[in-house]
């Protein structure tokens, strides 16, 4: 239970030095470097944006716009930040704009019920019925969080960001970022408290998730 796995470093992620070199070359107009920056961030960015807006086409549009805005102001990019933090910051603002626009069109903001993803059938068969049910319950609870809370949870667990980096990405003070994360946990705990009847279910879920 106590073995927490917060290290989300993936082999495909760029090192800071490699990232800086690519940014310098992209600034100089090197298209290959710009392409590598896109390729190394696009999947993570899309996963985050899709989880926030829950719409495939909108998520792709937002990702493309985020890359273009990032490249468009590459000269003002400060090397003290990670490129990914900057990119996620731009994308998060675009998500908020998109959600506001959608709200003004539909008059409602309950994104949890808008789209449900249907995972690949073979993938679903590979896991137990019980584990899948629990995972779906958890994602359902995540979808019911407010947008900043959901973003904070995704950035913390999926991207492995610190509260300081989450605050920078969301454009809020660190205390507010912590508050989003802690309130999100409290809501998740309340939503899921009745879901689990015994401890063995949680264990099977954690094993399935890993």
């Amino acid at each position: 239970m106590f073995a927490r796995r917060r290290d989300t470093t993936e082999p495909s992620r760029l090192t800071r030095r490699a990232e800086k070199r690519l940014i310098d070359q992209a600034r100089g107009g090197c298209e290959d470097s710009a392409r590598r920056l896109v390729e190394s961030h696009q999947d993570r960015l899309f996963a985050f944006v899709w989880r926030v807006v829950r719409h495939h086409h909108e998520a792709e549009e937002i990702c493309q716009e985020a890359f273009l805005r990032a490249f468009g102001s590459l000269d003002s990019f400060s090397a003290e930040f990670r490129f990914s933090t900057w990119l996620f910051t731009i994308a998060y603002r675009l998500c908020l704009n998109q959600l506001r626009r959608r709200k003004s069109l539909t008059g409602e903001m309950d994104f949890g019920v808008l789209v449900s993803s249907e995972p690949d059938a073979s993938e679903r068969l590979a896991e137990s019925e019980e584990a899948r049910r629990l995972k779906d319950e958890i994602w359902g609870a995540v979808d019911r969080l407010s947008v900043p809370q959901r973003a904070a949870v995704l950035l913390f667990y999926r991207e492995g960001l610190s509260c300081e980096a989450i605050a920078a990405t969301l454009g809020v003070p660190v205390a507010t970022a912590k508050s989003h994360l802690h309130r999100a946990r409290a809501r998740l705990r309340d939503s899921l408290a009745g879901m689990v009847e015994d401890h063995s279910q949680i264990q099977s879920l954690r094993e399935a998730a890993s």
Binding site: H56, A141, R158, C163, L181, A193, A209
Partner: protein, 164 residues
């Protein structure tokens, strides 16, 4: 030994990795013997595990990277200085027009008595056709670097060449 409410207050700091080793030890000691706190912590940890590891999002379109790069190229052109944009907007069509005129001139070179020799320049062809080559024929040899001028010169020279 800390109480259940004390323990639960520590959960966030524990999950944020901001709990001191001594408080972590206290928390572990309590959770091992308290099934309620154990379940609550396990639910929170399971949420974190699922969000971190369950990647059942849809995937990006295959063409996404190419689309972004194409949009970036368009962005670079749009942001280029006005003079460079003028080259793209005017220079390229003019160069294309100059190529057409050049091709036309080469196609009518058979009218002259002497066939075009390997290594001859366009100026040479025109000179052989014109009885008194104007001094500005040299301009025609310059090239495509000044497409407008080039086109004008070629037109002038062609007219002379075709005159009886």
């Amino acid at each position: 030994m800390i109480t259940c409410s004390d323990t639960r207050r520590l959960f966030d700091r524990y999950l944020d990795d901001q709990l001191s080793p001594s408080l972590q030890a206290e928390l572990h000691a309590h959770v091992v013997h308290c099934s309620d706190c154990q379940n609550e912590l396990a639910i929170l940890e399971a949420c974190g595990d699922v969000v971190r590891l369950d990647r059942r999002e849809p995937v990006l379109s295959v063409s996404f990277t190419d689309r972004v790069m194409a949009a970036r190229r368009a962005q670079v052109v749009a942001k280029a200085p006005r003079s460079r944009r003028l080259v793209y907007a005017v220079g390229m069509p003019m160069a294309a027009a100059a190529s057409v005129v050049l091709a036309f001139l080469l196609s009518i070179q058979g009218v002259t008595d002497q066939p075009l020799q390997s290594g001859d320049t366009l100026v040479a062809v025109v000179d052989t056709a014109a009885t008194a080559p104007p001094p500005e024929t040299a301009v025609a040899a310059i090239t495509v670097a000044a497409p407008v001028q080039f086109q004008q010169e070629l037109t002038k020279l062609t007219a002379k060449k075709l005159a009886p």
